[in-house]
């Protein structure tokens, strides 16, 4: 079967003896945005570079609409990479950067397209400015406009927002999401930030140590992590054996219970557990407690009692809505 869009099959990338990418298969359908989520060193940038043709595959294939791209050089692939730090051409103006891929087009057309794209990313009138005078957020928006000007078949975004501070990042995720949908460009979005991936992607792929652990829609991924490793990476933890879960009020669990950020709650009817540490949070407190099986967990309360001395113990129970049951024979480790 010939699949539409991007298709990566069993891709292997090696740096010397180390496999940065170890047999990864992933598809991006037309119009789809796929996020690749992974920690540092997971191989996510290698995957992106291999797709762009910037890295050679030792084994496997990258194809588009069923056509193998092994022999197609970077500049003929029509896959544009948007880099973490923009990589704007410092000797060109904003308009020069955005119009880089439009060389050879009539001047009027080029100017109109550049103006359109700058408007799309919210930078109308910035054309004549030198790129060295831009802020980090503006530079990334120019990089986005420059990428879209190339009319890419596929946009590859390499942690495009991770160099920015948090407030700007949250704002620009919205800009990126809106712009990608408006342009209808399929995209592969590499990031280590779970919130970014969930906010922007139709599907999220979790990558660790060069292997793809799971690909799914964000909600499904959150509700049904395929393994403890995926769950841990998404922010679940600790992981409790059925008997330990039972001690906290969840009886009859058929497998390992992964406790989510809101999976443990304070309840007067719950089990008393010792408090190890208390910390004030915005609008409440967060306590680190030791569960009966010895693992550590955090529990949040809306009051800010942590400001004084934290209590010696707290009554807690599991909240099933905030936990997931890991399918299969979950292997327990703390």
């Amino acid at each position: 079967m010939v699949s539409a869009g991007l298709s990566v099959r069993d891709a292997v990338v090696r740096y010397g003896p180390v496999a940065a990418l170890d047999g990864v298969s992933i598809d991006v359908a037309p119009g789809e945005v796929v996020a690749v989520l992974g920690a540092s060193g997971s191989g996510k940038s290698s995957l992106l570079r291999a797709i762009a043709g910037l890295e050679s595959l030792v084994a496997g294939s990258v194809s588009w609409h069923g056509e193998d791209l092994a022999a197609v050089p970077v500049h003929k692939r029509g896959f544009v990479v948007m880099f973490q730090d923009g990589q704007l051409f410092p000797h060109l103006s904003v308009a020069g950067n955005v119009g880089y891929a439009l060389a050879g087009k009539p001047r009027r057309l080029r100017e109109r397209r550049v103006a359109e794209l700058l408007e799309l990313v919210g930078l109308e009138g910035y054309g004549p400015r030198p790129v060295t005078a831009l802020s980090g957020g503006q530079a990334q928006r120019v990089a986005l406009a420059r990428s879209l000007a190339a009319n890419p078949r596929l946009l590859l975004l390499d942690e495009p927002l991770s160099a920015l501070d948090r407030g700007l990042r949250e704002h620009l995720v919205g800009v990126l999401d809106h712009t990608l949908r408006a342009a209808g460009v399929p995209a592969l979005y590499v990031t280590h930030d779970q919130d970014e991936a969930f906010a922007i992607a139709d599907r999220v792929a979790v990558l660790a140590e060069g292997r793809l652990l799971q690909v799914d829609r964000p909600a499904a991924l959150w509700r049904h992590p395929a393994s403890q490793e995926v769950a841990g990476f998404l922010g679940y933890g600790p992981f409790l054996a059925p008997e330990s879960a039972a001690a906290l009020g969840w009886t009859g669990a058929s497998g390992v219970v992964a406790v989510g950020p809101d999976g443990l709650v304070v309840d007067a009817a719950g089990t008393d557990v010792p408090v190890l540490q208390g910390q004030a949070r915005r609008g409440g407190s967060e306590f680190t407690v030791r569960l009966p099986d010895g693992s550590r967990a955090t529990v949040r309360t809306p009051d800010s009692t942590a400001h004084g001395r934290p209590p010696a113990s707290l009554p807690v129970r599991l909240e099933p809505g905030g936990c997931v049951l890991l399918a299969g024979p979950g292997q327990l480790c703390s």
Partner: protein, 559 residues
């Protein structure tokens, strides 16, 4: 930063284009280097091992057994060590004052400091000779034909190498490390000794190695100032060849010279690699207004700039106006007449120099651009990177191999088929281009290497082919260094004396050759003309460099 096992900086594939295209681009400079550098120098060295048509070590042994050889070698090393020490000891405070402090007139001071390095060696020799002559300003010090006089001239030349190389790093050294040491209770002296100088060490070592190289291969300045008593291996090669016509002795001396410069070149290369790493770590440019505690450094620098740099130049200009009938422009008027033993006037020699200089600059910059483009690529394969490092080292060779050796090599190899160019004037620009090529490459390469490889990748993913990447990304960067490269090439060629002194023909002499002739001839008139001609050449060279720096990159350039 993403954490791929080997970052994108070290690996690089796909956007470099066809390796064969790069090989073709490298072929022209490599062929040029082989024909006009490797072949003449090798032939020259081989000649040292041939006695009466047979391979023999006798010639070399004879030279090595001569006490004169060891005296010359000792003098070469002594002068180089003292010249290097003087340049470093005076240059480090200079680097601090000129690149780390802010004061009115800093631009002018930096400009003044950078002039001597590009001044023709013969002019510098003449300027110091005028200063030390019995009738000169320092005539009473008895420095004529003295070691101190030669060392002073060597420091004059190389002071700016230390100031600019160390200053370039110092101006980008993050002051917060020093601040941290201060808040930890270290006094200024301790901060200097434990934080600042160790951070600068690679730059200082690199500058010192380079200065040693320049001093050890000094020719024109020593030839003029040393007279009978002092020399270098370079001047001795010249003496053996042109005065005694003993080619095998000269060839043996060339081997000795190759060993000396080879050693210092290796040290320079090692320290340069360390310095390029160090520079990458540093932050933005920093400077602060002068403080009272800067006074010692300021005094030393002021004394060096005024006493050692400005004074000889002013004295040269002054002497050029001194005539038998008092102060006047008679020396300049005499430049229109036949100069010394030559049938041409100084102005005609100047015209020759300019034509030859243009040709040499065109050659050096054209080849230098090709070499720099090729060397700025980062091949993905380990053998590719090894080839690259070798090519890099090979193109630095002419910097180390003395100009005299090149000129002498030309003389003995390019006089028969397939390349019989002996009677052709093109030999001179070719030899000068060989001498200027390393300077051009060293000027262009850092700007090209500073380009983030991901800029190339970004351009490629935007649809630019390898040709368009070179045209739209590399070339604008190269252009920023091009002005300076052209300036270096032209100034080097205008003042080149080592190789040119072998190749220049009596009917088409260059200006430095004429000046050397004039200074060696008796008579106040010839001396006056030499002064005036030196001023003309110095002003022209300084103008060329000033223009180049003005259109060149605004960043500090090591040398």
């Amino acid at each position: 930063m993403n954490g791929t096992v080997a970052g994108p900086r070290t690996r690089y594939r796909g956007v470099g284009g066809n390796p064969w295209a790069w090989a073709a681009a490298a072929a022209l400079p490599v062929a040029f280097l082989a024909a006009f550098f490797v072949w003449p120098v090798t032939a020259l060295v081989a000649r040292g091992f041939v006695v009466d048509g047979k391979w023999s070590l006798a010639g070399v042994q004879e030279v090595l057994a001569a006490p004169r050889t060891w005296r010359i070698l000792a003098q070469t090393l002594t002068q180089a060590v003292l010249g290097t020490l003087g340049s470093v000891v005076l240059g480090v405070p200079g680097a601090y004052v000129l690149y780390r402090c802010r004061f009115p007139g800093r631009r002018l001071a930096r400009a003044v400091v950078s002039v001597p390095f590009v001044l023709p060696t013969v002019v510098v020799g003449v300027a110091f000779a005028a200063l030390f002559a019995p009738t000169g300003l320092f005539g009473s010090l008895g420095l004529q034909e003295s070691l101190a006089g030669i060392v002073a001239a060597l420091v004059f030349f190389n002071y700016s190498v230390v100031v600019r190389t160390v200053g370039a790093l110092w101006s980008r050294l993050d002051p917060r490390a020093e601040d941290a040491a201060r808040t930890l209770g270290a006094g200024r002296a301790r901060v200097l000794a434990t934080v600042t100088l160790p951070a600068l060490a690679p730059a200082i070592a690199s500058a010192a190695a380079l200065v040693f190289l320049f001093c050890a291969s000094a020719f024109g300045v020593v030839l003029v100032l040393g007279g009978e008593s002092y020399g270098t291996i370079e001047t001795e090669i010249w003496y053996q060849t042109t005065q005694l016509l003993d080619l095998s002795a000269a060839a043996a001396l060339s081997i000795l010279q190759l060993l000396v410069v080879g050693a210092s070149l290796m040290i320079a290369g090692a320290t340069r690699a360390r310095q390029e790493r160090a520079l990458r770590l540093s932050g933005n440019r920093v400077d602060a207004p002068l403080r009272a505690s800067d006074l010692p450094a300021v005094l030393v620098t002021a004394a060096v700039v005024l006493g050692l740099l400005v004074l000889p130049m002013v004295s040269l200009v002054w002497r050029s106006f001194v005539t038998a009938d008092g102060i006047g422009a008679a020396n300049y008027a005499a430049l229109s007449g036949a100069a010394g033993a030559f049938t041409v006037s100084v102005w005609q020699a100047l015209a020759n120099s300019l034509v030859i200089g243009l040709a040499a600059t065109g050659l050096a910059v054209g080849l230098g651009l090709l070499v720099s483009y090729v060397l700025s690529r980062r091949p993905a394969s380990a053998p590719g990177r090894r080839v690259m490092r070798t090519v890099d080292a090979v193109f630095m060779l002419p910097l180390g191999v003395s100009a005299v050796t090149v000129g002498f090599g030309f003389l003995i190899t390019l006089n028969r088929p397939p390349l019989d160019l002996r009677s052709s004037w093109v030999l001179i620009p070719i030899a000068q281009a060989m001498v200027a090529l390393p300077l051009v490459v060293r000027t262009l390469l850092p700007t090209l290497r500073a380009i983030d490889p991901r800029l190339h990748e970004a351009a490629a993913t935007l649809g630019a082919g390898p040709g368009r990447v070179v045209a739209t990304i590399d070339t604008p960067f190269a252009l920023r260094g091009l002005g300076l490269a052209v300036g270096f090439a032209f100034a080097t060629s205008l003042g080149e004396f080592g190789a040119t002194s072998f190749l220049s023909r009596p009917d088409r002499p260059t200006l430095p050759v004429v000046i050397f002739q004039l200074i060696g001839r008796p008579g106040a008139e010839n001396f006056g003309m030499a002064m005036a001609a030196s001023v003309v050449l110095a002003v022209l060279t300084a103008l060329v460099m000033g223009l180049a720096e003005w259109i060149g990159p605004k960043e500090v350039h090591p040398w």
